[in-house]
Symmetry: C2
Subunit: 262 residues, 2 copies
DNA sequence: GAATATTGGTTCTATTATCGAACCACTTAG
DNA sequence: CTAAGTGGTTCGATAATAGAACCAATATTC
């Protein structure tokens, strides 16, 4: 059993996103459909521990410095700065494009690390960005390695909520099978317009998908032909990345996903 | 009034540090002096929302990916990657040493951003590291701009808890006055052995200290003479940094500190 | 290999912390 | 001046929490 009170506090915390990083008390309580009293209590508690603070000039609540601290513990554990970052950097300099690491979390993909290329025109997406698994190469390459039942459910959701991006559920399922066979994916202009990406999946001991590694750049430069040429730059580093991620994966939440089948 | 339940959950979260990033349930409950039932409830709640997960091989709890997401919101808001990072990068390439941004939080200094130099031997400290204000140039340069009462209290604490680092409270207070006059500080081997640093304070609209900016490198290379020479590289960028931080400072927690005086 | 002491996890009820309507004091808009 | 915002507070009915006692499973001990 989980704590309802704490869950509410986390709901509050979850409202602070890139798109909406500042909230007024009443505004937030309306959005969450909670009494402003309780939101106020949650915020003061979070504030006392540095997770949140109230800006004096805007009079609104924002995320606090404490989160930088905690995220660093995660990064360190992930060995991102020590091992993964250098690898991504190497690929970026070899190909001249940005490199993105995506991780599977719950039923979504999260951009967890981005190394930008040095070119003037480059992919400069934002870390922490989270989107459904049916959009973009980096996400589809993950989706196609999940159990068929989950695939179908997510694709169906996609067809319902984003008919513009997923015009046909069946076509997407076929595409996923194709990606599965190839072990890599290419897409252009799906997550962000004018941005294309090539992606390979990353595995846990060679079994389950943990995420993906992608090279991303402007569509006009990163055509499907170019993508195929630079694919080996990604593949080359897969063994290392797999073995690191195997040790520091986030299996539990993925298990939630898998368990949800029965 | 703040929520006791939520506060307990945050206490749990706060236990995951760089030094101790993995916890067993019982181990954690003992350390926190809480019933294991409640710690368990907190952890499951945190787990459901991705703040924490339980590793399958170690059977221990660790911080989850959600925190990367939230920290990115903070970083974005701070405009670290957009504005501050380039400035720090410039200083690093000008001086050939690492550059560190420290922020005042509660009564401690937190390394909030580090740009490493490209030299083989370089300062490569860890972001998120938190230490008392009486240790190191980056922290003392903050401390000396706090109200005299606070200074005295913190220095006294330092003399009690770390007599090795603060042999004489009076000597340190004098040193702080000196730093205050100079508007910069130099230290060697205090926070980390063999590492020296030059620091300047960063202000909120020219009034209150928000943090500091430092150049850090190996003591043998970054002597006090060298430090003085490269000081202008820091000073040059102060106006920009001050104006950015003024807009995105974390005043509330600092106010806690100031209010605690009366 | 039986005994012991861990581990993570669950159940149940007396107790306690939480919730939310109603309430400030203050600012802004009309 | 009124009306409708804002953030913040109070207090009693109520619902969620705490924690002892309980598993089942694994490690450790002898």
């Amino acid at each position: 059993m989980s704590s309802k009170t704490v869950d509410k506090a986390l709901q509050v915390l979850d409202m602070f996103t890139l798109k909406h990083p500042k909230w007024g008390l009443r505004e937030l309580s309306r959005e969450l459909d909670m009494s402003h009293t309780i939101v106020h209590r949650m915020l003061t508690t979070l504030e006392e521990r540095g997770y949140v603070y109230r800006s004096v000039d805007t009079q609104k609540y924002e995320l606090g410095i404490k989160l930088l601290e905690l995220s660093n513990v995660v990064e360190q554990h992930f060995q991102i700065s020590e091992i993964i970052h250098p690898i991504m950097h190497k690929i970026a300099s070899e190909t001249g494009e940005s490199v993105v690491m995506t991780l599977l979390d719950n039923e979504e993909g999260v951009f967890s690390k981005i190394v930008e290329s040095s070119q003037q025109v480059r992919f400069a997406g934002s870390v922490g960005r989270r989107s459904p698994l049916y959009i973009g190469a980096s996400h589809k390459v993950i989706l196609c390695h999940l159990p068929k039942d989950v695939q179908r459910r997510i694709v169906r959701q996609g067809a319902e909520t984003h008919p513009d991006l997923v015009p046909s559920a069946d076509a997407l399922l076929q595409r996923l099978e194709e990606i599965d066979r190839n072990r890599w994916a290419y897409s252009a202009g799906e997550t962000i317009s004018d941005v294309a990406a090539v992606s390979i999946p990353l595995f846990d001991y060679g079994h389950k998908v943990l995420g993906s590694l992608s090279i991303a750049g402007p569509s006009y430069r990163l055509t499907e032909e170019v993508a195929q040429e630079i694919l080996p730059n990604l593949e080359r580093h897969r063994p290392e990345l797999d073995s690191i991620l195997s040790k520091v994966c986030f299996p539990t939440r993925r298990n939630f996903l898998l368990e949800s089948l029965h």
